[in-house]
């Protein structure tokens, strides 16, 4: 499998959260096929940048629920628009 760039990973993570609002970090790591630690590191960065929000779970001891912020949703839309161009340049 081709090594994914950081840009690709961020795009996949944002898309996954966008398509499944309230997804847990564990399920997210399975969905994007990346180790939990790697996902956690990227998520921390995205949360710090205000693109993703981590909400506490309703269940006891359950893991957090992830949702995109308005800024995150806008970024997803922008990244979708530039996807084809980035692919042409070999960045994806």
């Amino acid at each position: 499998m081709k090594k994914r760039s950081r840009l690709e990973l961020i795009m996949e993570i944002l898309e996954a959260i966008n398509s499944e609002e309230g997804i847990s970090p564990t399920w997210l790591s399975i969905k994007v096929n990346l180790s939990y630690d790697r996902v956690k590191k990227i998520l921390d960065d995205l949360i710090a940048r205000g693109l993703v929000e981590s909400l506490p779970s309703d269940e006891r001891k359950g893991s957090a629920k992830l949702v995109l912020t308005t800024k995150g949703v806008e970024l997803v839309k922008e990244l979708r628009k530039m996807k084809s161009l980035l692919r042409d340049y070999g960045l994806l």
Partner: protein, 189 residues
């Protein structure tokens, strides 16, 4: 050749202005995304397009200028800016994953400006030579290259123009002194 704004000139001006507007749009688009996500490859990309935008702007200005010398200088600057844009783009395609590579952006831009290359080379030479006067002459030449390089970068401003005019004068003077020094060494044993 007629005046700079004959049919050919106007066509060039229109084409360059359209390209400028389009590149500006792409630059804003990428810069906005980069600022949101801080993904390095997007940062490099937006920087490349900012430089391409500048290149088109300078090219459009060069087409409209009446003074042939200034127009040629602008034309050269436009090429240098485009060259810097593609160097950064090339770098972003190969090494964009590493955050620290942003450090290489200034040298990559400098690489595209011949005066700044001359400055770097002459400065290193000035550090290596032993003769006291020779060191100073080369250093003086080196500074004139730097001034002219910075002047080129600021070409669109009044300061840039003054810097180029001043550095041209200083360079002529420094070169003369440099040549005289060599001549003296060769003739007077």
């Amino acid at each position: 050749m007629g005046s700079p704004l004959d049919f050919y000139g106007i066509t060039l001006l229109v084409l360059n202005t359209i390209s400028f507007v389009l590149f500006l749009y792409i630059s804003i688009f990428f810069t906005r995304s980069y600022l949101r996500a801080k993904i390095e490859s997007l940062g490099f990309f937006s920087l490349s397009f900012i430089l391409l935008t500048l290149s088109r702007l300078i090219s459009a200005v060069s087409t409209a200028l009446e003074d042939p010398k200034l127009s040629l200088a602008m034309h050269t600057l436009s090429s240098s800016t485009a060259s810097a844009a593609f160097l950064i783009m090339l770098f972003s395609i190969r090494f964009s994953e590493r955050e620290e590579v942003f450090i290489v952006v200034p040298p990559l831009i400098a690489l595209s400006f011949p005066d700044l290359i001359s400055f770097a080379l002459s400065f290193v030479t000035s550090l290596l030579v032993k003769g006291k006067y020779l060191k100073n002459y080369i250093l003086m030449l080196s500074i004139t290259f730097l001034l002219r390089g910075v002047g080129s970068l600021l070409m669109l401003t009044q300061l840039g123009l003054y810097l180029i005019i001043f550095s041209e004068f200083l360079m002529a003077l420094a070169t003369l002194l440099f040549a005289l020094y060599h001549l003296k060494k060769v003739i007077v044993v």
